[in-house]
Amino acid sequence: MLYLQLLINGIQTGAMYALIAAGFSLIFGMTRVFHAAHGATFTLAGFVFYECYSLLQWGLLPALLAAAIASGLFGVLLNRWVYVVIQRHEGSFFTVFAASFGAAIVVENLVAIVFGKGLVTVSSDWSRSVEMIPGLFVAPMALVAVVVAVVCFAVLHYVFTHTNLGVALRALGENPTLVDVYGLNQKTLAKYAFLIGSVLVVPAAVLTAMTSGISASMGHHIMMISIAATIVGGVGSLRGAAMAGLLFGLAENLCLAFVQPQWSEAVTFVILFLFIVFRPGGFYGRAIVS
């Protein structure tokens, strides 16, 4: 019964990680920008939702919209005001990463000033666990999380395969120069990549706020999962990142049956190391050995 419980917890966590990792992988895969501020986008979305829903008492939908606007704006503006400027004159990996990291630190601390450094939760009846069968506690929120994740991925899949924008974005990821030849604008496409990737964190942020709570310094952990999942899934593959996110969520929870809780974060990175050593391409990507 313990295993079943941990499995269910793992699926819930994994669904959230899959969404977050997909957002990062989308941005990184399409624009080659190491958007280290993705964790900050998550934090921002979560706290904007908390502010609007719990503190200002707006309805669920308006609060969600506010969170989506905030995170989307953040991603797009960061790209336009910071990354593009850097890429104009130099754009090395280091410079972009350092700027992104700096932005993440600023956001994390601004959130801490406004909301404090502790954990906040959006209280909702749906996060209280219900004993479904003896020994198995599941919160309705867990089911919501999985459903939302599946829906989001379905929508993403549709966008990427059946819309012009989606196809153009995939092209951008595979061969940016050819995209120019086709007459499409790289910069505009990049903007959309940031927009979609950033908004993708909103469901995960909201659900996390309602279940285990969010804190200003969560961004680091989110970043780690995003990067690790992108690598394990294969750079450039959204499906891979999502699967890797699910894998990490499952691993984090299932390992509790065997090891003390301290090690559950480490398990994620053991998996990462193993992939780097034995299969750097990840699930679906091609490793570029330099």
Binding site: L2, S129, F137, S212, Q262
Partner: protein, 371 residues
Amino acid sequence: MKKLLRALAISQMLVAAPALAEDIKIGAAFPMSGANAEYGEIFSSGVNLAVDHVNADKRLNGKLEVVYEDSQALPTQGVIAANKLINVEKSPYILSAFTGVSKAIAPLGQRNQVVMINGGGVGPDLAQLGPYFWNVIPLVNLEVATMVPFLVKDKGLKRVALVYVDDPLGQSAREVLDKELKAAGGELVKSFSIPATAQQFSGVAAQIRDAKPDAVYIASYGNQQVQLAKQLRDNGVTQPLASYSAFSIPSLLKLPEAQGSYFTSQQVNLDSSDPRTQRMVSDYRAKYGKDPSMYAINYYNAVLLLADLAEALQKEGKPVTGANLLEKRKNTPTFDFVGAKVSFEDDGTVKAPVQINQIADGTTKLVKSGQ
């Protein structure tokens, strides 16, 4: 000749007077910024009140002053803060907080013969920091040993599960729980160690449910306890919770999921008729609009301890230095702390009665007095 004598007399007074009217500067290395700044505020509220009282009573020759330095609750910063207090402010008595900081600055106190005094941490490692490191509160082993017979004999809760942070405090809690439970006829059914930074406990809750204990003991601190209590309840752990003095922080007392939990603390009856207690409690209530927490009381006691020792030293004409304070403390059998009479052990820890409280209506209720 007379003029010379008069001049000599005046100059002698001028030289002697400053030594007699010496102000005493005590230092405090508290987290004034960062995640634990809240604790720094609680501690300093007790300290400031004590300083006001000592000066109002004019117990010392000269003024008592306190200088605050920011330790950020980190060992390296604590060392910088303590260095400033010892070498620049020339403080003979420094209030410390947070075990990591205390352990880092204890060698400085030892080397410079400056007293360092802790009123917050209760880990057993705080008893091993040398003669110049003192603790004004009983350490966790005393607290746990008091809670066990209460749980087993008074409440019939024999099977206890433990959730603990794997540091010396948590390890000590585990050892003492194991030993005392066996002795009292109970059992430590399972213990789960959690990382100090963990915030997610649904897995731990699942395992606790699996173990089916009668009660759950929590050895954690700060915000983590609040999360732990809430998530355990959210995930179906209905058994009563028990812990040590760290449960006395406001955010936990107000948590709906924590109501009914038991925790130990140093003996203090807020309604006692003892004059020191009454004065401290009523003035604190007047100044801050709420009851003083255990931490505020501890640091109030720490300052009063200095005042008692310094007053005695000054009466004997001795200078108030760290070495003299240590000697005076060793020669004093008991001290009147707010809440109880205590006496110091040789290792700088305090023997004090421990009481058992229960959280009810967002505040604490005394359930069993200490001996």
